[in-house]
């Protein structure tokens, strides 16, 4: 009998009088990709930061099924437990790769560092695994000793993905993973993410304002406005048959090419 991986119950975060996100509840299952969409200021990034424990919510809880099958409220974890989770069982792909990479160490070290966090010590193994992962994200082996500073935006983003996935996390958070990239680079990245998520059976929570990204990558989506989830469901149903005025506006605002 399968169980959810994450159970979120009435999560809220306010910044003084201003509401970040309010009363959000959902479950995420293994292998499921959830997109959180909405415009700037809708609360989607606040929600992502609460879920990934980068922010402390004002109220509510998020329970996570740990690798030993024990359910833990994320906000009851010690700082050390939280860090360990972040470095091993979770990934976080930032919109700006510079936020998720170490720009002044080599590409290989960026990937190897995460492996060492889960106990890899053998240099040869670390290097060969790093090469393998660079290959999976379509970075040539001869770039392994280069610093990400010398990489293009698309390459940096692919390196960030490799760095996150090398520890075989069960849950990956992504914040606008294709934002700020050229469309042709976006397409390649989307295809890559789609393939990796399916092959590895990852669960993922993807924040995006781009409905095409949500359609391509996610099984299910939540639409946020003013901190609240106003509509949620199967991705193609929300996009093909939106119910809420705001969702209808979002869907009808997509430019056709």
């Amino acid at each position: 009998m399968t169980q959810p991986l994450l159970r979120v119950h009435r999560l809220s975060k306010s910044y003084g009088a201003r509401m970040g996100c309010a009363d959000v509840s959902f479950e995420l299952w293994p292998g499921e990709v959830l997109a959180i969409v909405g415009e700037s200021g809708s609360g989607k990034t606040t929600l992502l930061n609460c879920l990934s424990t980068r922010l402390e919510p004002s109220s509510g809880l998020a329970e996570y099924r740990m690798r030993d099958a024990v359910w833990r409220n994320l906000y009851d974890l010690s700082e050390a437990e939280r860090r360990f989770l972040m470095r091993t069982d979770w990934g976080f792909v930032h919109q700006n790769p510079a936020d998720g990479l170490r720009m002044t160490v080599s590409a290989g070290a960026n990937v190897g560092e995460r492996m060492m966090a889960v106990g890899s010590r053998h240099y040869g193994t670390i290097r060969s695994t790093a090469i393998e992962w660079l290959g999976r994200v379509e970075i040539a082996e001869d770039r392994i000793d280069d610093e990400p500073r010398s990489f293009s935006g698309g390459m940096r983003q692919r390196l960030q993905i490799a760095r996150n996935l090398v520890t075989h996390p069960r849950l990956v958070f992504m914040d606008e993973p294709t934002g700020g990239l050229d469309v042709s680079v976006q397409a390649r990245l989307l295809d890559l993410i789609r393939g990796l998520v399916a092959d590895l059976g990852l669960s993922a929570i993807i924040v995006t304002h781009d409905l095409a990204v949500a359609r391509l990558l996610s099984h299910r989506m939540m639409v946020m406005k003013g901190g609240h989830v106003i509509e949620q469901g199967l991705t193609d149903r929300v996009l093909d048959d939106p119910r809420e005025p705001y969702t209808q506006l979002l869907v009808s605002s997509i430019l056709q090419v």
Partner: protein, 243 residues
């Protein structure tokens, strides 16, 4: 409902009961566009039921409701899923995805392409998703594409730049590759030439022989006459407009 002696009663694979659907257009002052109401019919194993009626009667919308792309306002859409009845109209997203993986397939009018994915992988994907090995799935994809006369030099290319007829054949191959017990077809022959139309008619006949329940829209009268066991007139479900 009692059984009639001497008549074999088969369980339908799809039964639609009293389904109603309207769209509320919030951006147009909240006007309500009724689509259908009181929709009811069944599709049994091995039969092809064709939805009839003029454009705008709600045929494509009905297929989208049965596949779960559109929600419904009322009624039930019951599929036999691993031997158990499951109502798709009220199912949660995970159950709908489960139904789509194992029970209900859909050949849409237009192919939604993914950048960079080859035609062969587009066609093989539904099998791979269901656990078939990639090589085996690709082998099956090759057979279907060859049968549908799609030139082999196109197989390694993404179908985004293909002609309408070529994309439609990719879509058909993708829809027919699995053994889904229920298959929805939205004008699968609309942009095909006579040779390929005949291939599709033959493929539909094979699905019927293997016990698949098919529900489709076919504007081509010749094709419809060849594949249809029964026609359900969608105009019968036209909403009685209030006011």
């Amino acid at each position: 409902m009692g059984r009639i002696p001497g008549v074999k009663v088969m369980t339908p694979l799809l039964s639609v009961h009293d389904v109603a659907k309207s769209f509320t257009m919030h951006l147009r002052d909240g006007i309500v566009l009724p689509v259908v109401e009181g929709v009811g019919f069944e599709v049994h194993p091995g039969e092809c039921v064709v939805l009839g009626g003029p454009s705008g009667a709600g045929k494509s919308s009905l297929l989208k409701m049965i596949y779960g792309n559109y929600g419904v306002d009322a009624g039930s859409i019951v599929l036999r899923h691993h031997g158990q009845p499951v109502d798709l109209a009220t199912a949660d997203p995970r159950t709908v995805l489960d139904l789509r993986r194992d029970t209900i397939g859909y050949v849409s009018q237009f192919l939604r392409t993914v950048p960079r994915v080859s035609t062969l992988d587009v066609v093989a994907e539904p099998l791979v998703d269901r656990g078939t090995g990639r090589e085996l799935a690709q082998g099956r994809a090759r057979e279907l594409l060859a049968r549908l006369n799609l030139p082999e030099r196109l197989w390694s290319l993404p179908p985004a730049t293909f002609s309408g007829g070529e994309q439609q054949r990719v879509n058909i191959a993708r829809g027919f590759i699995t053994a889904h017990p229920v298959l929805l077809l939205d004008e699968p022959t609309a942009s095909l030439d006579a040779t390929n139309r005949a291939v599709v008619v033959e493929m539909i006949a094979e699905k019927k022989r293997s016990g698949v329940a098919l529900l489709g829209i076919f504007h081509d009268e010749e094709v419809r006459a060849e594949v249809a066991d029964r026609i359900v007139d969608v105009t019968a479900f036209a909403p009685r407009r209030a006011a």
